[in-house]
Amino acid sequence: MAKLSFNINQEQFEAEVKSGTSLLWVLREHLGLTGTKYGCGIAQCGACTIHIDNRPMRACILRAEDYANGQQITTIEGLSGSGEHPLQKAWIEAQAPQCGYCQSGQIMQAAALLDQNPSPTREEIRAHMSPILCRCGTYLRIEKAIRIASENGTPLQQ
């Protein structure tokens, strides 16, 4: 057991966890940041996508202790707590989610795309978003939402 300190959504969080514990379990079960979801545990579905220093990563395969050294971790709760991020608004405009379980991961993955490439082509959107699975089949509305957000402009990450 080690006491670890994390920089998440620009706040300090502490958790006492065993070495090797995945960052996903720390976020969800230790810290209560449950917007980041568990789907597969092997970085195949992307439901647990978060940003580490502005890059999209799959929390389920990260060892918590490797990300407790001041790295900036951003989860869906920190993207815009009020739901006012252009992607979140566009997601609603496109009525994208169905069950909603994968959507935190989808939005975090999309935010990383627009951060790097504010006007992606359809092919770029599809290639970038393909790591994130959606079983309800909302892909076309996700694509539409990203286009809407791209057209409306997206703010730089915090």
Partner: protein, 722 residues
């Protein structure tokens, strides 16, 4: 640990509004009305008749409407309250939605079987089965408000009308807001039996696109699924169930496991070893270290790849199975037929792959006399999900807190995961237990859509008319393989449809559209084989067959127009058509191309025309068709569970591959052919269109016939090069 859940939404609402709350309840037998300024008196009244409310109306006009159905993405959280609000003439901007309590007597729908009530979100029947329930309840709420206003003003009820959120007396130009009425509510002794309902031409919410009520919290991470529940003193449960369904475990290293950090208990089930630990990571670590020797089961020795040989023998045998449809005389029709075509269609096992792995949270009281459950369930024949029987306690002592479902698709209408969690929680009462299935558990111990074989024979007379159609489905699970075998919208005078049983001991379950997927594939592809044989256009052939089914024909005509069917597809592409009835009627056309080197099929476009009757939420219907088609494409092009010696060979998304965004079609276009008929479900209409449409497009493109789902690149190449 802080808790991010709450159970007493009523108390919260009282606190939130701080003042007056009106409950208008409709028990189905007698209206239960509670109107009270004093929260204490209200609570007392609620205790007396605690669960008869459909709507909570506060003095500022804000209201909460209860949704009695599971929300798994299909939009029940919006469609059902909208139907209620329509008849109540509520101001939609003041409507909030919460799940109703799980009490069948109050919130059940009689739409399943007359005389009974169920809370069961299955078969795409949420809107279908609750349409009348919600209309009547909403109309009764409106009646009470009208009654009260008439007493306040001293005018006959007949002179009053409503506008959204107001009762209006046009003669004197007076208006009273619903909230104001609630503040001095006068309650009728009885409610008339037949309160008039709106005509569909008067609808202002039903038929309009309302934003889905729960989406704001589904984009900011706050939507709560059962897996997100955290309670004080909560512990974690996992089970090792193996990959051989029903095999009995024998644990080899109990002492070692019990010695592991944080492990509290080992619990033995017939088919699994359960573990409870203080942390999830601790529970998973212990699970990994379990050494179990497994016994055999009914599935031992079973091999899904070679089983089709047995299925072919069963199909060829003389023993008739369970006859589902028999009209005319197929044998006679075949004997006199000028042409006769027979084909076998095969369908491998597939898995639900809902994104939220199965899980539940259960807390059993220290004395064992009551329990509370947090779960994403499609509910069940018993709204308390079997928990009272497991614990030997009365149903009223079990509280089910329904959460959003991270996908259902039929898997969450089997509550095995709830039972497991109850058994674990009982062992550590009163500590709450969160049971999580890992993805590997979810795949290996899945409950699959059964493998099946369809032997279909079509007979055509000398005039080119389809006169006989025989369809024999072989597989395990009765209706799980037989649903969708009927051809009620095609005029074929002689038909025989039967199910022949095969049993393997593999866990099975309804999977979105159930047997419709495989059976519509067989039927629709057979029709194109017939059309090709007759050198007839596939749409033209179906038009003839739909002569007695104008609503079905309208969907076919519409989709042909949408896809520009009469204009050839671009070079290197082909289009294929299919028709499905599953609740709603739908016709679909896809446009595909093929990489002849790799065998990869690309679906470029999908068009769908659907007739759902009254379209309660049109854009949501489109979303369901889009999702249904994409899930259909995923299953048709790549999904496959294989069993060897009874053991499930797949374990995660790495070897059970779902369709990803890069393989989604460029467009899915849906047109709704609305009518004023009772609304039908749309969740399972899109999915079973896909296999037939793709196989038919492939036939057109290559002259070859794909008959074994999924159409993996390897299988496509095999057919192409045969």
């Amino acid at each position: 640990m802080e808790t991010n859940t709450y159970t007493a939404s009523r108390r919260n609402f009282l606190k939130a509004t701080g003042g007056f709350t009106l409950y208008i309840g409709v028990s189905g037998i007698l209206p239960g009305l509670i109107s009270c300024e004093d929260p204490k008196k209200l609570e007392a009244a609620l205790k007396k008749e605690p669960l008869t409310a459909w709507v909570k109306l506060s003095s500022d006009g804000e209201m909460v409407i209860f949704n009695p159905a599971a929300e798994m993405g299909q939009g029940s959280m919006t469609a059902l309250p909208a139907i209620f609000a329509e008849e109540m003439d509520a101001d939609w901007s003041k409507v909030h939605v919460e799940f109703s309590p799980q009490v069948t007597e109050v919130y059940g729908s009689p739409g399943w079987a007359p005389g009974s009530k169920l809370m069961f979100t299955v078969g795409s029947r949420t809107t279908n089965s609750y349409f009348d329930v919600m209309r009547r309840a909403g109309a009764e709420a409106r009646y009470i408000l009208l009654y009260s206003a008439s007493k306040t003003w001293g005018v006959p009820m007949g002179e009053l009308t409503t506008e959204p959120g107001y009762v209006v007396h046009p003669e004197s130009d007076r208006r009273l807001g619903y909230g104001e009425i609630a503040s001095g509510l006068q309650i009728p002794e009885t409610l008339p039996e037949n309160i008039p309902l709106k005509k569909s031409s008067e609808y202002r919410l039903v038929g309009q696109d309302l934003q889905r009520t729960e989406l704001p919290e589904k984009v900011n991470g706050r939507a709560q699924f059962a897996i997100d529940i955290r309670l004080p003193d909560m512990v974690y449960g996992v089970l090792e169930r193996g990959d051989l369904h029903g095999a009995a475990p024998e644990l080899q290293n109990e002492a070692e496991i019990l010695g592991m950090d944080g492990v509290l208990k080992i619990i033995r089930l017939d088919y699994a070893i359960g573990l409870i630990a203080t942390s999830l990571e601790g529970a998973l670590e212990a699970k990994k270290n379990l050494r179990i020797s497994w016994g055999t089961s009914a599935a031992s020795g079973f091999d899904s790849g070679t089983a089709y040989r047995e299925y072919e023998k069963i199909a060829a045998g003389n023993a008739r199975g369970e006859v589902i449809v028999e009209s005319g005389d197929v044998d006679k029709a075949f004997n006199s037929a000028a042409r006769r075509i027979t084909a076998d269609f095969k369908n491998d096992y597939i898995y639900h792959a809902q994104m939220e792995p199965l899980n539940a949270v259960v807390q059993v009281a220290a004395d064992g006399g009551s329990a509370e459950v947090w779960v994403g369930s499609q509910q069940g024949p018993d709204s308390k999900l079997g928990v009272p029987e497991l614990l030997g306690i009365p149903p009223e002592n079990v509280t089910i807190n329904l959460q959003y479902l991270g996908g259902g698709f039929g898997r969450r209408s089997m509550n095995d995961f709830v039972s497991e969690c109850v058994l674990l929680a009982q062992e550590v009462a009163p500590k709450p237990v969160k049971l999580i299935w890992t993805r590997e558990d979810d795949v290996r111990y899945g409950a699959f859509r059964p493998m099946s074989l369809q032997r279909v024979t079509a007979g055509v007379d000398s005039g080119g008319k389809l006169t006989g159609f025989a369809h024999c489905v072989v597989g395990d699970g009765g209706n799980l393989v037989a649903s969708g075998i009927r051809n009620d919208h095609y005029r074929i005078p002689n038909q025989l449809a039967e199910w022949r049983e095969a049993r393997h001991g593999i866990r099975l379950k309804h999977w979105r559209s159930v047997g419709h997927g495989p059976n519509k594939f067989a039927i629709e592809h057979m029709l194109d084989l017939v059309a090709t044989d007759l050198k007839k256009d596939p749409v033209a052939l179906r038009r003839e067959l739909m002569a007695d089914a104008p609503r079905a024909l309208a969907t076919l005509d519409k989709v042909a127009e949408m896809a520009d069917w009469d204009t050839p597809a671009p070079e290197g592409r082909a289009r294929g058509v299919a028709f499905v009835e599953h609740g709603s009627l739908g016709s679909g056309i896809c446009e595909i191309s093929l990489d002849r080197d790799t065998g990869k099929i690309t679906v470029h476009h999908f068009w769908c025309a659907v007739d759902p009757g009254i379209a309660v939420q049109p854009d949501n219907i489109k979303a369901q068709i889009e999702g249904g088609i994409i899930m259909g494409m995923s299953s048709v092009l790549s999904e496959q569970i294989t069993i060897r010696d009874g053991r499930v060979q797949q374990s995660n998304y790495s070897d059970y591959r779902l369709l990803r965004m890069q393989d989604a079609p460029e467009s899915i276009e849906t047109v709704i052919l609305g009518s004023d008929q009772h609304p039908e479900g749309v969740g399972e209409t899109g999915t079973p269109l896909v296999a037939g449409a793709i196989a038919n497009a492939f036939l057109k493109l290559t002259g070859k016939s794909l008959r074994h789902l999924p159409f993996t690149p390897e299988r496509v190449l095999e057919v192409l090069n045969a």
